[in-house]
């Protein structure tokens, strides 16, 4: 220990060009700012590597096997991926995944922006309303979905209201209707996510100078022109963040579908995420499920990269 300190000092002195004053400054810097070494982060790095990257890598490896979840397995190459592409139900699941992701992001952002504009400055009750609109975001998606399941139930309030106003012919099994079920899921997602988009847009709108808007108003611009040419360009970073985060979250939708329809009726609301779970854990097709997960990860990765690019572009 003692000898270590003796040997390191001259070595650093040889390398240290600044001289005695610079050396003491460097020592002070090491004592305050330089307190710490890269390997201090090693435990955290190792945990992250083990939990995220190694686990993901191992999961990705199983995509090329026929492992059932127990016992031995064999390498099957790209067979799982070929099966996925040849199975129309998996193609439907991919379509539903993209529909829910893009459908929710468009509707959530339009409504979220509209609410944010309405609650930005003038309304006296805006703080209360902001809380009310944001509240669904903090609720558990599973709890929210079970409430909506009751609402959509055949004996639930929607059909009861329709019956009470004489529209019995409009009654239907909302979650059991293959043409409506996916839209029911979309409604629930939009209902819960809109508050999140609203908050992002409110943060963006806070940075728009009032003077600029007033100047535009004095110049005789209409409300739409002010929004189109003044407000929207100013909140473009918020738009980029909200839309890309919305797409990535939309691609991973799982809880709502499992609670509302369990992927039914007859697979009409299956997504890649629900199929990953069912194949890997319910139907003992772990290798096949891993292949689906790999495809879903690749899609999310593409949109995550787009998100990074768009955000960086707007910052610059």
């Amino acid at each position: 220990m003692h000898s270590d300190t003796k040997t390191t000092k001259p070595a650093r002195a040889h390398r240290g060009a600044p001289g005695p004053e610079g050396l003491s400054r460097a020592r002070r810097a090491r004592g305050v700012v330089g307190f710490g070494h890269w390997w201090w982060a090693l435990p955290g790095v190792l945990v992250v590597l083990a939990i995220h990257y190694v686990a993901t890598g191992v999961g990705g490896f199983f995509a090329f096997t026929d492992w059932t979840g127990i016992g031995s397995f064999q390498l099957v190459g790209l067979e799982n991926f070929q099966k996925i592409l040849a199975d129309p139900t998996k193609v439907l699941a991919l379509g539903n995944t993209l529909l829910l992701a893009f459908g929710s992001v468009v509707i959530v952002n339009i409504i979220g922006l509209a609410i944010a504009l309405a609650l930005n400055r003038t309304l006296k009750t805006r703080y209360v309303l902001r809380v009310l609109f944001f509240m669904p975001v903090v609720l558990s998606p599973l709890a929210v979905s079970y409430i909506w399941k009751f609402i959509f139930d055949y004996n639930g309030p929607i059909n009861a209201i329709l019956k009470s106003v004489g529209l019995e012919s409009w009654q239907k099994t909302w979650l059991g209707d293959p043409s409506f079920a996916i839209w029911a899921v979309l409604i629930v997602i939009v209902w819960q996510q809109t508050g999140f988009a609203m908050v992002i847009y409110l943060a963006g709108l806070a940075g728009v100078p009032v003077e600029v808007e007033e100047a535009a108003a004095i110049d005789g611009t209409t409300l739409w022109q002010r929004f189109r040419h003044v407000t929207l360009p100013a909140i473009r970073p918020a738009v980029a963040i909200s839309t890309t985060l919305g797409i990535v979250n939309g691609l991973r939708v799982f809880d709502q579908i499992m609670a509302l329809t369990n992927g039914g009726p007859a697979g009409a609301t299956e997504t890649l995420a629900t199929q990953v779970y069912k194949q890997a854990f319910s139907l003992a097709n772990f290798g096949y499920g891993a292949a689906l997960a790999l495809i879903l990860s690749a899609i999310i990765l593409v949109f995550a990269v787009i998100q990074q690019r768009v955000t960086r572009g707007t910052e610059s």
Binding site: D177, G267, S282
Partner: protein, 431 residues
């Protein structure tokens, strides 16, 4: 120097602490997983639970501990919907319970054959072999070795709310399919009621519906149909009985047999419908009759077999040991666990388990007098040995039953056809 040394020691400590804490956390996690116990007198038991009511497994385990002082059974109750996944994950990780609830055959994740083929189960003694229901050997054995101990016999068919049926004008359960359709119309005409209640969004229930009908259309004529399908000499799509079974579901839907919104309903619809009397009959295992009787004390529930196509066809049903116990091959308490299994195999315990579950004891079934019990309507089926095991226990993987359950929902919504469902089942079988 002292300060430097302390600083170095602190650095090492800072570096090592997270690792040590991590190791402790991880070991703590694994320690609570119900892994094999090393105490020769003690062992762990893992079983599925779906309600807050005490499980028959828990009842019998407590009785065993009371009867054999010094023995401790660690009870691991796992939610029913994740039991299969939990079991297989624990076995794969090497920390499964010493004794687990298993399911005969290979149609489920905790299937005896599935787990035994993977090398996770220990062969059992002759006392377990003696309990295998006749003709069900392939669901419990591989190469003559027994890997599961049958616990009770369940009948899978219809459970009729006799009280509500009488009130709706149905004094006797139909004996042929025409009678079924006629009764459906009668009950529907009485206003707001249905002859059957179905959880169309729940694959296990739609699967039970199709399987109950297939008992008379497929297995009554050909009890070895599963073996033929395994041998590749027949297919679902090529079997007229399976076509008739699924077509019967479409006919029932058209006749208004099911409650409104059946295609999107969950298990809650069954519970509500059958206990309130808005629906008269459900599809499921016979043990549910006892649960229903406890939940709705004013009603009488009896077990029925779904009628054959015509009254000249023979009555036939599905009955098998749906529940079994298996021994973990990696158990460190095999002797203690085997003594428990031997105790469970005795007629008194078999009866106690069956009573707690509302099923029939696995021993002495032939001598059992079912008169006056809720099994009386199916007594002749047992007496005449006119039953086979629940079909999916002999199917090679759980995807086949999933395809059936999902397909029946598709038939109810019009998304698919009879041929389409059967083709998807064949695909799942051959995967």
């Amino acid at each position: 120097m002292t300060q430097h040394r302390r600083s170095h020691a602190q650095r090492i400590g800072l570096f090592a602490a997270p690792l040590a804490i991590g190791a402790l956390v991880l070991s703590g996690c694994s320690g609570n997983s119900g892994s094999s116990t090393s105490d020769s007198q003690s062992f762990s038991l893992s079983y599925a639970v779906s309600t807050g009511v005490e499980s028959p497994f828990e009842t019998l385990a407590k009785a065993y501990m009371a009867a054999t002082p010094g023995v401790t059974i660690t009870l691991n109750a796992v939610p029913n919907d994740s039991f299969s996944q939990t079991t297989s994950t624990q076995f794969q990780a090497g920390n499964g319970s010493d004794v687990i609830e298993s399911q005969p055959g290979s149609g489920a994740g905790q299937g005896i054959i599935t787990l035994a083929k993977a090398g996770f189960l220990e062969p059992l003694d002759d006392s377990a072999t003696a309990l295998i229901p006749s003709g069900n050997e392939n669901l419990f054995q591989i190469d003559g070795k027994t890997y599961g101990q049958a616990l009770s016999i369940s009948f899978v068919g219809n459970i009729l709310n006799q009280t509500a049926a009488t009130a709706a004008g149905i004094t006797s359960f139909p004996t042929d399919f025409d009678g079924v359709l006629a009764d459906c119309k009668t009950v529907a005409a009485s206003g707001g009621k249905s002859m059957f209640v179905l959880a169309g969004a729940a694959g296990p229930n739609t699967g039970a519906l199709a399987s109950s009908i297939a008992a008379t259309r497929v297995y009554a004529e050909d009890p070895k149909w599963n073996d033929e399908r395994t041998a590749g000499t027949t297919t679902f799509a090529g079997t007229q009985g399976w076509k008739d079974s699924l077509q019967a579901i479409v006919d029932m839907k058209d006749a208004g047999c099911f409650q409104g919104g059946a295609e999107g309903a969950g298990f809650d619809a069954i519970t509500n419908g059958i206990t309130t009397g808005t629906s008269l009959t459900m599809f499921g295992p016979s043990g549910a009759a006892a649960d229903l009787a406890r939940a709705a004390a004013g009603n009488t529930y009896v077990v029925e077999a779904f009628p054959p196509a015509t009254s000249s066809d023979k009555a036939f049903g599905l009955a098998s040991a749906n529940y079994s116990l298996s021994l973990n091959a990696a158990s460190k308490s095999k002797d203690a666990a085997k003594k428990f299994l031997e105790w469970m195999a005795q007629p008194a315990q078999s009866k106690q388990f069956a009573d707690a579950q509302g099923s029939l004891p696995v021993t002495g079934l032939d001598d059992l007098d079912l008169t006056g019990t809720n099994y009386e309507p199916v007594a002749d089926i047992f007496k005449n040995d006119a039953y086979v095991a629940f079909p999916n226990t002999g199917w090679p993987n759980s995807s086949v039953y999933d395809a059936l359950g999902t397909g029946v929902q598709g038939l109810l919504t019009g998304q698919t056809t009879v041929d389409g469902v059967l083709a998807s089942m064949d695909t799942a079988w051959d995967q």
